[in-house]
């Protein structure tokens, strides 16, 4: 497993991968991760207050998300699952849209951002989209050009549970066959809802990549340095036309699968406690303090910023407008189909069938 920063916050070296950034960059990563955690905690709390329908917490997976997102070049595209809040934050996706999505005031009909596709709820389906899109990049001549600035790659985020899906395995086969420029970034958070990783795979996940014919790397998913280093390497390969890579970011879902789940029913406290000792934010804070890159005043400012961010997030819910069903019919096709117009009429009729209660 590739690791460059231990849980205690000590830098270690690795034969193949090295951290090429500065401590200043790492101060930035600390801010990314802190704000991601704040965003996630606030959204979880909003769900508990009845403001969101459901929320999938990213707690504990900040380093995997931030490290990989910060490895992306401007032309690279992200195909996320539904838990990539940290990636969204780093790519400056308007986070209000994510809140709207889980509040149900937004059906995912956003202005598609070039670099960050919609959250995908269907487990693993985004890996197919990512592979197809990556093949498109090849057809468009955006892979393997002499000038690196002309090249692009795709990263598909998925979880350990998704690795058991047929879609995902088919994506692996297609991307290998076509040598598509896609990085499969698997956050192995150990639990597919209540199904432990050990039940799903007899071997470490990254070893599966070999069977599909491309490299697989296991990286400490709670080590932001290692994650970024490994992801940069994999994206570089993709852009150069060297084909797909599988990255297994070994991490842990500290919270529930979603707010509708109760992990205490299927996993032991001891396990969660053990992983709390490997917290990605704690270890980076320890390292940066030791280096003198940050001090108490810096952390206090960060806490203040995070707090303000929290109130801003809370204020969003009041600003979100409930969409009408009618708008949905407008946003599926540029030119509506006859069938959809018929459905719109049927729905309007159905709505008219209600009357005021006594």
């Amino acid at each position: 497993m590739v690791q460059l920063l231990t849980p205690e916050g000590r830098r270690v070296t690795n034969d193949e991968f090295e951290w090429r950034g500065t401590d200043d960059d790492l101060v930035g990563r600390l801010r990314d991760m802190t704000l991601t955690r704040r965003f996630d905690n606030e959204a979880t709390a909003l769900q508990r207050k009845g403001e969101l329908g459901v929320w999938p917490p990213s707690l504990g997976q900040e380093a995997a998300q931030v490290g990989s997102a910060r490895a992306l070049a401007p032309k690279d595209t992200v195909f996320p699952s539904y838990r990539e809040h940290g990636v969204a934050l780093c790519l400056e996706v308007p986070l209000k849209q994510l809140i709207a999505l889980f509040r149900g005031t937004d059906a995912g009909d956003w202005e598609m951002l070039d670099r960050f596709r919609n959250y995908q709820i269907i487990i693993g389906a985004q890996t197919l989209h990512a592979t197809g899109y990556a093949m498109g990049l090849q057809f468009d001549g955006l892979v393997g050009n002499p000038d690196p600035a002309d090249n692009a790659a795709v990263i598909a985020y998925h979880g350990d549970g998704a690795s058991s899906q047929g879609d995902v395995n088919e994506s692996f086969i297609f991307s290998a066959s076509y040598n598509a420029p896609v990085v499969f970034f698997c956050q192995n958070n150990q639990w597919a809802i209540s199904e432990p990783m050990t039940l799903q795979s007899r071997i470490p996940l990254f070893e599966r990549a070999r069977g599909f014919g491309f490299p697989g790397v296991q990286v400490d998913g709670n080590d932001v340095l290692a994650v970024q280093a490994v992801t940069e390497w994999a994206l570089e390969r993709a852009r150069n036309g060297e084909g797909p890579t599988f990255i297994e970011a070994f991490t842990y879902r500290m919270g529930a699968h979603t707010t509708a789940d109760d992990p205490t029913k299927y996993r032991r406290d001891e396990e969660t406690q053990e992983w709390a000792g490997r917290d990605p934010i704690k270890r980076l804070t320890a390292y940066l303090r030791e280096q003198g890159a940050i001090d108490d005043a810096h952390l206090a400012r960060l806490e203040e910023e995070s707090k303000d961010f929290g109130s801003e997030i809370r204020s969003w819910v009041d600003q979100l407008r409930v969409r009408t069903m009618d708008e949905l019919f407008d946003n599926v096709y540029a030119d509506n189909t006859v069938e959809l117009e018929a459905q719109r009429r049927e729905y309007a009729e159905y709505n008219a069938g209600f009357e005021e209660a006594l």
Partner: protein, 505 residues
């Protein structure tokens, strides 16, 4: 300004939750996101954070109460001057809270027209209680009585012998695959069943009615008049819902079905109470049904004098090593059972259907049925057979404490190999327990009572008061024959009648 916090839906599509514990008291000052309360839904235990900062004015719901989503549970003063709006309505996001818009409802006309397809689908997949479906078809004979008040449920269609003969061509049968499977599992020939669904489709309720009918037909000596419609209704209901839940590791159900005679309202207008089956109750029921449907239960019992065990317990209580520990006869029972299991390994086994093997467990994970705040749970003591008496005592004490607090973790109640249930604590003589999970036997402790007992001293018999109890063992006859089961029970009884004999084991 006074704010009311309305109970949100903390899961997906839940309708109610129980207030487990308040984390704040009236007068407390809270910040945004401070935890206000812990609630339990049918899915999880959840902490609810405060949407506002301010002072707690009043807790509107007592702990232990179940409230509906959307109900106000706590009032908080946010310190902001009163404005025109006095109460912030909770947003209605998942369709269960109060709506901002005026409530509206469907006109009845539409409601009563489910499409045939959707009706057929729900008929096929919903696990119908036979009686809950409106009786749409083929009354078998004259209906003798008119129901009063709410229509009493009927046992689905009531087939007469003639209807059974009518449809006999199996190729003409219309039934969905799940229903065909269901019928096959129950040994029902669909060719003999008349369907009551759309286009004569056979529904789950039809199959269940056919089973109930078949059972009646097989027992003519009971003197039932099969063609009498009202009799059929009554009898078949009782067949479908046998009275009494039987023994779980604890207690019997009262077993009063919703049926009864159709002649009059037996309760003079008093309303029945209906409680949704879910959570631990549901899991318990499913486990018991699975156990009863797989294990071949046999129960044996023996009544013995356990005065020496009671004396032994008293001795232990006075020993220094046991200071601070609660010692009950359960400790001696548990030890005796571990010793007897070593001599009778057939009772510490599991049936592996898939591999067609009997699994002899390498150790005893001793389950103890416990009434916990979450309901009946059977946590087990891992490797109880390797524990010394003092270690076993500590383990039992800890298990009781953790169970009482409702803090059991999944690992605590999985992996059991043998279970003890104690109905004696309820003052009951003994019981015929149901085997827990995939274990092969369960031991039932009865009440220990002072009773007259014949004691022989130097060839003279006299009746003296002794501490007497009944021990029972239920075991799976697929694995364990009467010989092994009896030997085990005898061994346990021997130790309890004279703990010193444990030295022989």
């Amino acid at each position: 300004m006074l704010r009311k916090f309305l109970l949100p839906d903390p899961g997906e599509g839940l309708v109610e939750a129980e207030i487990v514990a308040w984390r704040v008291a009236e007068g407390d000052i809270v910040e945004v996101n401070d935890v206000l309360v812990e609630i339990e839904t049918s899915k999880s235990l959840v902490e609810l954070p405060s949407p506002w900062a301010g002072t707690i004015k009043s807790l509107l719901v007592a702990e232990g109460t179940t409230v509906e989503v959307g109900a106000a549970i706590i009032e908080l003063d946010d310190g902001v001057a009163e404005s025109v709006e006095t109460e912030a309505p909770a947003p209605n996001l998942v369709g269960t809270g109060p709506s901002e818009a005026p409530r509206s409802r469907r006109r009845g006309r539409r409601r009563e027209e489910p499409s045939e397809v959707s009706q057929a689908i729900s008929d096929s997949y919903e696990p119908h209680e036979p009686g809950r479906r409106p009786d749409e078809v083929h009354p078998a004979g004259e209906v003798h009585a008119q129901p009063v008040g709410d229509p009493l449920p009927t046992a689905g269609k009531a087939p007469t012998e003639s209807t059974l003969v009518l449809a006999s061509d199996p190729t003409a049968v219309r039934a969905k695959p799940p229903i065909r499977k269901y019928a096959k599992d129950l040994g029902v020939d669909l060719g003999t069943v008349v369907g009551s669904g759309p286009d004569g489709t056979i529904t789950r309720a039809d199959v269940e009615a056919a089973v109930a009918f078949q059972r009646l037909a097989d027992e003519p000596r009971q003197g039932r008049i099969v063609n009498d419609h009202s009799t059929f209704q009554r009898e078949s209901r009782q067949d479908t819902f046998p009275p009494g839940g039987g023994y779980g590791p604890f207690g019997a159900g009262s077993g009063f079905g919703a049926g009864g005679g159709a002649q009059s309202d037996p309760f003079n207008g008093r309303q029945e109470r209906r409680v949704p089956i879910r959570g631990v109750r549901k899991a318990t029921a499913e486990n018991l049904v699975r156990s009863v449907n797989t294990h071949v239960h046999v129960t044996e019992w023996i009544t013995i004098d356990v005065t020496p065990t009671m004396d032994f317990v008293e001795k232990l209580k006075n020993r220094r090593e046991f200071t601070g520990l609660r010692i009950s006869p359960l400790l001696v029972y548990a030890k005796a059972i571990c010793l007897a299991l070593a001599r009778n390994p057939d009772l510490n086994t599991s049936w592996d259907e898939e591999n067609q093997e009997i699994v002899y467990h390498p150790g005893v994970n001793l389950g103890v049925a416990a009434a916990t705040p979450r309901g009946l749970m059977v946590p087990n003591i891992k490797n109880a057979d390797q524990l010394s008496l003092i270690e076993l005592c500590r383990a039992i004490n800890q298990l009781v404490a953790v169970s009482r607090e409702g803090k059991l973790q999944p690992g605590d109640y999985t992996g059991g190999t043998f279970t003890i249930t104690n109905v004696g604590v309820f003052g009951v003589d003994a019981g015929t327990p149901i085997i827990n999970g995939n274990e092969s036997a369960i031991f039932c402790m009865g009440a220990i009572q002072r009773r007259p007992w014949v004691v022989e001293t130097n060839g003279v018999e006299e009746v003296v008061p002794r501490s007497v109890t009944t021990l029972a063992i239920a075991f799976d006859h697929r694995i364990i024959d009467g010989e092994q089961g009896s030997q085990f029970l005898h061994d346990v009884a021997e130790i309890l009648a004279e703990p010193a004999l444990a030295l022989l084991f």
